[in-house]
């Protein structure tokens, strides 16, 4: 693996040069929010930020995406081509939790059978440059409880770590190595590796919250029916914000839209929190109340995904905890379950 040391004052120049050659998205201050936006036309990548308000999953799995277009012909609507193809892009400054969400989504969208060509196309054309958290940005961070760490390289092509006086750049994949020329030629030495290890340990140690994410699996396996499930959903408004903000939530709806003689089939983010999500035409709904929907959301992350793929479908970013309007806290649910 190639490793480079980059003086701190040259990073902005590196970002600028890459952005000059291709679409580069980085955390940018947009009013009061930090969002992933294109670095061009006066938009500058932030050097210091906690994390972006929204998870970057939308780059591979957009909120709304055209799957195909069709046109009205004499004998009915006929296929008229796919949606737009994605271009090459660089996502710069992705936090390790969010980069890990890509690795988790890969498991679903890039299975051996039934590959999702839209996701795979964008994922393949995008280089992910992750930025280690040398200090966990929020009190709600809990990546270390769900298989991640503030310096995890999962899902990233390049990992940058702030060593104080310079950045250590680790080129983890071929896609990452293709950007090597932008990063100068100062090779990282063993001292840099050692420093990174120290930072990694210190940063992980600063994470305040731990949750028994693996430990509760046995309870979840045995207790699909349990009085506990009657307690967590009561204040839920079914607004879907948690699933909207979540880096790993990936449920979608498919809808047709027609304008005149042209139509398109689009997919939109959907949410297991919504009553209509599983409601059948007959009126039957296998998840009739918010209780079953909450159980599904929690079980999907901590039991079903584990059964299907191994990892927990949560990266510990804390967005759902911070954005829930009624303060439902997934960390507390896990902790409460472990006491049952």
């Amino acid at each position: 693996m190639e490793k480079r040391l980059i003086k701190k004052d040259v990073l902005a120049g590196i970002i600028g040069r890459i952005a000059g050659d291709m679409n580069l998205f980085a955390p940018v201050l947009d009013e009061d929010n930090v969002l992933f936006e294109p670095v061009k036309d006066g938009n500058t990548a932030l050097a210091n930020y906690k994390n972006t308000k929204n998870a970057p999953k939308a780059f591979f799995f957009p909120r709304s995406e055209t799957l195909m277009r069709y046109a009205r012909k004499e004998k009915g609507m006929e296929f008229a081509g796919l949606g737009e193809e994605a271009g090459q892009a660089v996502l710069f400054g992705v936090r390790p939790c969010d980069a890990r969400s890509f690795a988790l989504l890969d498991l679903l969208f890039d299975q051996e059978k039934y590959k999702d060509p839209y996701y795979i196309d964008k994922r393949g054309k995008t280089t992910v440059v992750a930025m280690s958290c040398t200090k966990p940005p929020y009190s709600t961070c809990f990546c270390t409880s769900v298989g991640g760490s503030p310096t995890s390289a999962d899902g990233a092509d390049i990992l940058l770590t702030d060593l104080g006086d310079a950045y250590l750049a680790e080129f983890l994949t071929d896609k990452g190595a293709a950007l090597l020329k932008y990063f100068g030629d100062v090779k990282a030495d063993a001292a840099a590796d050692k420093k990174k290890e120290e930072i990694a340990a210190a940063s992980a140690g600063e994470i305040k919250t731990t949750i028994p994410a693996r430990e509760i699996k046995a309870f979840l396996d045995a207790n699909f029916e349990h009085p506990f499930w009657d307690t967590i959903h009561r204040k839920c408004l079914a607004c879907g914000t948690c699933t909207f903000m979540c880096p790993t939530c990936h449920c979608f709806d498919i809808q047709d839209e027609v304008k005149g003689a042209d139509g398109k089939r689009i997919r939109n983010w959907d949410s297991c929190m919504f009553p209509l999500f599983t409601k059948e035409t007959s009126g039957h709904n296998p998840r009739p109340t918010q209780k079953e929907r909450w159980r599904q959301r929690f079980m999907h992350k901590f039991r079903y995904y584990v059964d299907m793929f191994g990892p927990i479908a949560c990266v510990g970013c804390g967005r759902c905890v911070m954005s829930c309007p009624v303060n439902i806290d997934i960390r507390k649910i896990a902790q409460d379950i472990s006491k049952l």
């Binding site: 004998k75 449920c251 089939r265 059948e280 007959s282 599904q296």
Partner: protein
């Protein structure tokens, strides 16, 4: 990479109104491109997304058998947006099909065994596919005795009426068609499906029961088969859930960690016992 979201173009080559109430029709679809027909290799029990541009898609079991060449058939009840639109369609209309999707009736498992097919009402479509597959001259020897118990609320609601008559003439098929309540012209059997199952009392010896029907029928039919000593491994059924993608991604048809669209729709009762009760 094959795009699993793009439907295969087909033409509606025949429409058959199945029932007196006219809200169940069978659509025969023929492929517009010959190579698509060759690629569409399916097994009884699988389903496909019927795709009407402008309206959307609806997951429907394949009602034809792969032994019927040149077309595929779907029997559809008029219910929501897509199926209502289908019911308004005329022969010659172009539409799309995405599939085949899902697992299937486990043909290899069924081979060499006596097969009891139990259907109720409109949930007889993939059972019809299975029956036509098993009784085809190339396949009949591969299966033991075949018993069919099929019921509807009244004679007018039986689907595949002509085919039922043909099947009743066969000596290698034990047909038991019943209606909850007959009418002036009905000369056949009257009685609910569970009661008829009890009466026919198929032996569980080297036998598998394949059961599809409305939940109320299933609930009362299963105890009959338990009494006949059918094991849960040897009772199969097919689940229905709301679906969109059909390929285990969109996240709405899961029962526990199994997706009905790709791990199902066919499950044995033994398998269902391992799953959460959420369907």
């Amino acid at each position: 990479m094959q795009n699993p979201y793009v439907p295969i173009p087909v033409v509606v080559s025949k429409i058959i109104t199945e029932v007196d109430t006219k809200d169940i029709k069978t659509f025969r679809l023929s492929f517009l491109n010959k190579e698509d027909e060759e690629k569409f290799q399916y097994i009884p029990g699988q389903f496909a997304e019927l795709s009407v541009f402008g309206k959307g898609e609806s997951p429907i079991g394949i009602a034809s058998s792969p032994t019927q060449k040149g077309y595929i058939e779907f029997t559809v009840q008029k219910a929501g947006q897509v199926t209502s639109f289908l019911h308004e369609m005329e022969e010659g209309t172009h539409m799309g099909v995405r599939g085949p999707l899902g697992n299937s009736w486990p043909i290899e498992f069924l081979e060499g065994k006596n097969i009891v097919v139990v259907g109720g009402g409109f949930a007889f479509t993939t059972l019809r596919s299975l029956i036509n597959y098993m009784i085809h001259e190339d396949n009949r020897k591969r299966f033991g005795n075949i018993t069919v118990i099929y019921g509807a609320r009244n004679p007018g609601l039986l689907i595949y009426k002509d085919e039922l008559k043909e099947w009743e003439k066969r000596s290698d098929l034990n047909m038991n068609v019943t209606v909850d309540k007959g009418d002036a012209t009905w000369k056949g059997r009257e009685g609910f499906v569970p009661a008829v199952c009890k009466e026919v009392a198929p032996s569980s010896d080297n036998a598998v029961a394949v059961i599809c029907g409305p939940p109320i029928m299933i609930r009362f039919t299963l105890p009959v088969f338990f009494d006949l000593k059918f094991s849960k491994e040897n009772i199969l059924t097919s689940l229905e859930m709301r679906m969109k993608c059909g390929i285990g991604k969109c996240g709405r048809c899961n029962v526990g960690h199994k997706y009905v669209c790709k791990d199902g729709p066919v499950f044995s009762l033994a398998e269902l016992d391992q799953l959460t009760k959420e369907y």
